[in-house]
């Protein structure tokens, strides 16, 4: 029985990847969980220079969800390559760098520096809702999306994985634009733009105002968008959004995702990866499948006969 998957030229030992912005730079979880059990890890978003991030408060809990406006506080790509990468060397897991920029040129420059020994792929952050420049501003405009992805494509030989925003009317437009611009895979989705109001003070609960919603609250939206994207392109899709169990991960895989990322659930339980891996193996056993790839894209919709006809 095999959980291994092929993705953008990478072979991952299993389809579970730690999501950007929820796993620090990986080393924070040394000793708490075994990094080598993960198929891959995605770094916190990295710019050329260190960033301060948003004012506080930065997080607020909402029903079954977490609304955040961290604002990509980070150490910068050079410090990551110099200080962190060597420490990840001993772990048998794919290292994916999340590339950020205020400008197209900055994305390309970060991508060039990120192409260091030990880095396996680049995820392009064109979907952070919590920065004034870059982020979602690029990922919400097909022309800018194309420009950023093409620039990073040109700057690196590493696999390029744009991370798409859910805060668009039609995600398939952006999925196709990324494929045309040379992307090797897609991450779907980033957080959903939200607003929580402190009614006593009549002010937003987050200092930034709006924030990005993650957690189980967004899962059906995320599964739907990942499914749409997977049908729209030939490159593989990595599903993200509210995964906390093997069943949640399977929803994305069955809907057509080659792999999944897990974020917020790890805050709740750092042991979530082991639980999901065990659950995936159990699922393959119960369904008599040899490989997790047999499950990918196996979603079928009932035909009219099964539903009794009529439709909606």
């Amino acid at each position: 029985m095999s959980l291994a998957v092929q993705l953008a030229g990478l072979r991952l030992k299993n389809p579970l990847i730690a999501a950007s912005g929820t796993f620090g730079y990986g080393v924070e979880y040394e000793g708490i969980l075994d990094l080598s059990r993960l198929g891959g890890i995605v770094s916190k978003g990295l710019y050329l220079e260190p960033r301060d991030g948003c004012a506080v408060p930065r997080i607020v809990e909402t029903p079954s969800g977490l609304l955040n406006a961290i604002g990509l506080q980070g150490v910068g790509i050079r410090a990551f390559v110099r200080d962190v990468l060597p420490r990840l060397d001993g772990y048998d897991t794919a290292v994916i760098v999340n590339v950020c920029g205020d400008t197209v040129e900055e994305y390309a420059e970060v991508a060039r520096i990120a192409e260091a020994p030990g880095v396996d792929a680049l995820e392009i952050n064109i979907s952070c809702p919590n920065v004034k420049k870059g982020g979602m501003a690029f990922g919400g405009d097909p022309r800018m999306t194309h420009e950023v992805v093409a620039a990073v494509r040109k700057a690196t030989r590493l696999p390029v994985i744009p991370k798409l925003s859910p805060n668009v009317a039609d995600v398939t437009v952006f999925a196709r634009v990324c494929e045309e611009a040379g992307a090797d895979a897609l991450s779907c989705i980033n957080t959903l733009l939200g607003l929580a109001v402190d009614v006593e003070r009549r002010m937003p609960r987050l200092a930034f105002g709006t924030g990005g919603l993650s957690g189980p609250a967004i899962r059906p939206v995320a599964v739907r968008m990942a499914w749409q994207a997977a049908r729209a392109v030939r490159i593989p899709v990595i599903g993200i959004g509210g995964i906390a169990s093997a069943e949640d991960a399977l929803e994305f895989l069955i809907a057509g995702c080659r792999a999944v990322q897990i974020g917020t659930a790890k805050f709740v339980d750092p042991g979530v990866y082991s639980r999901i891996l065990a659950g995936l193996e159990d699922y393959l056993r119960r369904h008599g499948r040899e490989s997790i790839n047999d499950v990918v894209g196996s979603l079928r919709f009932p035909d009219a006969e099964e539903t009794g006809g009529g439709g909606c």
């Binding site: 000793g31 708490i32 709740v268």
Partner: protein, 289 residues
């Protein structure tokens, strides 16, 4: 800076509730079995804990560790029910489990040998001082506590603390128990008696911490404050719990994780909302002189 765990990383476990002792009002004591927390915790450290696996409320909550019992592999939390997360913990029955990660964070540093430790607690901020009082007592240090609440019912940590045999002065806003007034006023009155060298430690609501920091600055007394911002992960990855801290060699403050670089910080370095750090103000004043 990249946060990293100490050579002894925290342990994530499902922990069994072994004892539950309701106190008055919304307060109670919960004792869980967790060998690493019981064996390694130093005062001021905390656990992230959640009563069940339900999606709502979603996150674990941070709690200071009130006491540890290494022989039994257990630790005790002092809980005030304030919302759905604490409610779920309070509703646990003996034998039921919770998800728990710990011990986490930077503990209270010991005071210099010739200093008396003044422990300033507001409400459930008494919790870490029960463990710290015990550490100080075992180390042969002098210590006393000042414990404030809105009303007598809020001083439910009174008995666990006095069991240590250390002096405790209670204060209530409504005068229903102990001194009538704010806990920081009681600390100031004690400083007026010229007690010799002291180090101040504070844990409680933000307004009280800020008042304690101002008092320490005014009286030129070293102080450590234990901050309690909203926290997501407890290990420095979500960057949700950051506080602005300005150390001696820094021209401006930096956001630092309360979970990994705190929750205990030198009060001089804390940049309070709308005010800046006392260190920065002093240095600016020195430049002007």
């Amino acid at each position: 800076m990249v946060a990293t765990t100490s050579p002894r990383p925290p342990a994530s476990r499902d922990v069994r509730l072994v004892a539950r002792r309701p106190l008055q009002g919304p307060y109670l004591l919960l004792t869980f079995r967790h060998p690493e927390v019981a064996g390694r915790t130093r005062a001021g450290q905390f656990v992230m804990i959640k009563a069940n696996t339900a999606a709502d409320p979603l996150l674990r909550r941070p709690f200071s560790i009130m006491s540890v019992h290494p022989a039994e592999d257990t630790f005790t939390l002092f809980l005030k029910v304030v919302g759905s997360g604490t409610r779920a913990l309070a509703d646990l029955r003996s034998g039921e489990t919770a998800g728990c990660l710990g011990p986490l964070g930077r503990p209270f540093p010991m005071p210099p040998e010739d200093h008396e430790a003044l422990l300033v607690a507001g409400g459930y901020g008494i919790a870490p001082f029960v463990l710290f009082g015990d550490e100080l007592r075992r180390a042969g240090r002098r210590a006393r506590a000042f414990y404030g609440g809105r009303t007598s019912g809020d001083l439910q940590g009174h008995d666990p603390f006095t069991a240590l045999g250390l002096p405790l002065a209670c204060c209530t806003d409504d005068g229903s128990f102990g001194h009538h007034g704010r806990v920081t006023d009681a600390v100031e009155a004690y400083l007026d008696t010229r007690p010799g060298a002291v180090t101040l430690y504070a844990c409680g609501p933000d307004a009280m911490l800020h008042a304690a920091a101002r008092l320490a600055e005014r009286r030129n007394v070293p102080a450590q404050v234990s901050l309690d911002p909203w926290m997501g992960c407890g290990v420095g990855t979500c960057l949700g719990c950051v506080v602005r801290i300005q150390r001696a060699d820094e021209p401006r403050g930096k956001y630092r994780c309360a979970c990994t670089e705190g929750p205990v910080f030198d009060a001089r370095d804390v940049v309070w909302a709308g005010e800046g750090s006392s260190r920065a103000r002093r240095e600016a004043a020195a430049v002007l002189r």
